[in-house]
């Protein structure tokens, strides 16, 4: 570098300008449009775009997609946003995948509304787009949706909590996700529906972003506000474990019922250990595997997947309640993710 910097300035400028000009020329020159890249022979290309790279839920989803791609002779490429909510990152990933000539894209939208224009552009170029886990708004913006029924997931733990309370008056705390995120809203509403309660019965509601540390802080504050809390609804198991830590510090872990959603392996183990009473388990691996299969089918027969496919949800608990169907943690740990 230092040696280069001793070259005469005009030479350097010339070199720099030629480089930029060459680039500009290539940019304006020949070449086909970015879409409908001809893959020629070879395997079907499938893209998977998750919210982040690091959340175990999406790691599992990727595993499921990789396995299914191998089985079906497809070629998988993956991408993710930098953080939960990174819409621009997902838009870029869609564009690059379309440029790479994918036949179909499986996406877990970070922002259900904001991603829609980018999806429309991809679909206009003949790419099959399937939403996994989280629906778009409107739902019809994608060809198909493979996801957990989040309302049902909430409803199951609501029914469980109602039965487990055995008629005691409930004082409910809700550790939610974040404002305006459909998954969180659906689970929350499902829980209330299953419990037969309304938002008036929730004495404390806090957003946690699904984060354990924030879940703990939220629970500490809720206990400060309403010490008599005896039921805690949590958006996912990290938030539930945070709540458990806060309750344990107050010596309340035995007499407060915590219910959750997700069915991650750590979370299911926490159910087995008695920290969480029950959780609704969902199946990211299945969402991804079904998605890959759908793209391969589309590539072969031109048949597009459509509508909503419920990938299932199972209530996991070791303390079964009368009138509520559940499976034990042995089953849960066998089918957990993460």
């Amino acid at each position: 570098m230092s040696r280069i910097s001793r070259l005469p300035a005009p030479l350097l400028r010339a070199a720099a300008c030629t480089g930029v000009a060459a680039l500009a020329l290539t940019a304006c020159g020949s070449g086909s449009g970015s879409g409908t890249a001809s893959t020629g022979s070879g395997s079907v290309k499938v893209g998977l775009i998750t919210k982040t790279d690091t959340n175990p839920f999406f790691v599992k989803m990727k595993e499921g997609a990789e396995k299914a791609a191998k089985e079906n002779g497809a070629q998988l490429s993956t991408a993710a946003g930098k953080f939960d909510g990174d819409n621009a990152g997902q838009v870029t990933a869609i564009e690059n995948m379309v440029a790479a000539g994918v036949k179909g894209i499986l996406i877990t939208p970070s922002d259900s509304k904001a991603i829609v224009p980018a999806i429309q552009k991809a679909r206009a170029k003949g790419v099959l787009v399937i939403a996994l886990d989280t629906p778009t708004e409107p739902e019809s913006a994608v060809d198909a949706l493979f996801a957990t029924d989040n309302l049902k997931a909430g409803q199951l733990i609501g029914e469980y909590a109602k039965a487990a309370m055995k008629g005691k008056t409930a004082k409910i705390a809700a550790l939610d996700l974040a404002p305006g995120v459909s998954v969180g809203v659906q689970r929350h509403n499902g829980f209330l529906k299953g419990f037969g309660a309304t938002d008036k019965d929730v004495v404390c509601a806090q957003d946690t972003g699904g984060d354990q540390a924030k879940g703990q802080t939220a629970m500490e504050n809720c206990l400060q506000k309403a010490p008599g809390i005896n039921v805690v609804y949590t958006i996912n198991e990290p938030a539930a474990l945070g709540a458990y830590t806060a309750l344990k510090a107050k010596g309340r872990e035995k007499d407060v019922l915590i219910v959750s959603v997700d069915g991650g392996c750590t979370g299911t183990q926490a159910v087995k250990d008695g920290k969480i009473a029950a959780t609704s388990q969902q199946y990211p691996l299945k969402m991804a595997a079904e998605g890959v299969k759908a793209v391969v089918t589309y590539a072969k027969d031109g048949k597009k997947a459509s509508g909503y496919t419920d990938t299932g949800v199972t209530l996991i608990s070791d303390k079964a309640q009368d009138g509520v169907t559940s499976k034990d943690t042995a089953y849960g740990l066998e089918n957990c993710w993460g």
Binding site: M1, S2, I4, S5, A9, L12, R13, A15, A16, G19, V20, L23, T26, A27, C28, G29, S30, G31, S32, G33, S34, G35, A37, K45, D53, Q75, L76, S77, T78, A79, A80, K82, F83, G85, D86, N87, A88, V91, T92, A93, E95, N96, M97, A99, A100, G101, S110, D111, K113, A114, V116, P117, A118, A178, P179, G180
Partner: protein, 331 residues
């Protein structure tokens, strides 16, 4: 600290100054061309006009932010608030036009002005109190972030009127489609590159970055200059806000959260020194393209995105290393 070791000759002789402007961009340019060559060989789809047009589209928002960031870093400052200010500007534009029933052009002007206001405020705090730029812009990052979420009520603004997304539209050139927004970004880069290299103002910016005290003693009105630079940067963030809206087609309160760091990455990769006084916006353009080319190329190869992060990190460290070593040699 480094300012005191800068040879006096660098400030005086225009040819030397020119050499310093050009030299730091050579390394990045070579890196960019090597990356392009690598991806051209490894994938069929990389070397097409459509793909290059796509890369420029993808980097136009961070690119425009990075112009402002370059100006501030040239003064030995830093701006952590750029992404958040842009996000606020974009929500102002989107809401004013979509819900506030303001004419789109007025909404756009208002949004850009609001961002300029943030820049002005940053500049005043840095210069008049004075506070370290890092602290001022860190605070402003939180202020703008919070205002974005309060004002948007956490809702994505959809159904934007046509003029707001006009810059996202494309026109055909040969066999590829070029976005109007890309042209705006490229024009801004050229404009600021000209202003920095060929006007008195530009020379003052470099002088200020080398040593504020020396610049002041030479009769440069450093206070006004600094405030002006932050304001110009703010206005650029406002334009970036418009580009962002036009690209995604929505007003998104979550936008821009890592754009402050991404813009700093681009500036550093482009050979601009974090210690001020050395670098150029053309270098930054190359830096922005390096990031865009890697992201695009690796995706075309089917490499997982976490490797982009890994490679970008390594490149940043390399770039700063090169900067430091060349400084040592220059003594």
């Amino acid at each position: 600290m480094t300012a005191t070791t800068t040879p006096y000759a660098e400030l005086k002789a225009p040819t030397t100054a020119r050499r310093l402007l050009t030299a730091p961009t050579t390394g990045p340019l070579v890196a960019l061309l090597l990356a392009c060559a690598f991806f051209s060989v490894s994938t069929d789809q990389f070397l097409t006009g459509g793909n290059f047009s796509l890369i420029v589209q993808q980097v136009m928002v961070v690119g425009t932010l990075a112009i402002g960031q370059t100006l501030i870093i040239l003064t030995a400052g830093i701006d952590l608030s750029c992404g958040a200010v842009m996000a606020f500007g974009s929500i102002v534009i989107a809401k004013m036009a979509a819900e506030g029933s303001l004419p789109p052009l007025v909404a756009i002007a208002l949004g850009i002005a609001v961002c300029g206001g943030f820049g002005l405020l940053n500049g005043l705090l840095v210069q008049k109190i004075p506070l370290p730029p890092f602290i001022v812009t860190l605070g402003m990052l939180n202020v703008a972030f919070a205002l974005t979420h309060i004002y948007s009520e956490e809702q994505t603004v959809t159904n934007l009127p046509g003029p707001l997304t006009a810059l996202g539209k494309t026109f055909p050139l040969g066999h590829t489609d070029i976005t109007y927004g890309s042209l705006v970004t490229i024009a801004l880069f050229l404009l600021l590159a000209y202003a920095l290299s060929s006007t008195g103002w530009g020379r003052h910016v470099y002088a200020l970055g080398n040593s504020q005290e020396a610049a002041r003693l030479n009769g440069i009105r450093t206070s006004r200059l600094t405030i002006g630079i932050y304001t110009v940067a703010g206005l650029l963030y406002g334009i970036a806000a418009l580009l962002l809206i036009s690209r995604t087609g929505v007003g998104d309160p979550q936008a821009g959260q890592t754009d402050n760091l991404d813009s700093i990455t681009a500036v550093v990769l482009g050979g601009t020194s974090l210690f001020g006084g050395r670098g150029s916006v053309l270098g930054t353009f190359i830096g922005v393209l390096i990031v865009g080319v890697f992201r695009n190329g690796l995706q075309l190869m089917g490499v997982a995105s976490i490797y982009q992060t890994l490679i970008t990190g390594v490149l940043v460290i390399l770039a700063v290393t090169v900067d430091q070593l060349s400084r040592k040699k220059a003594r």
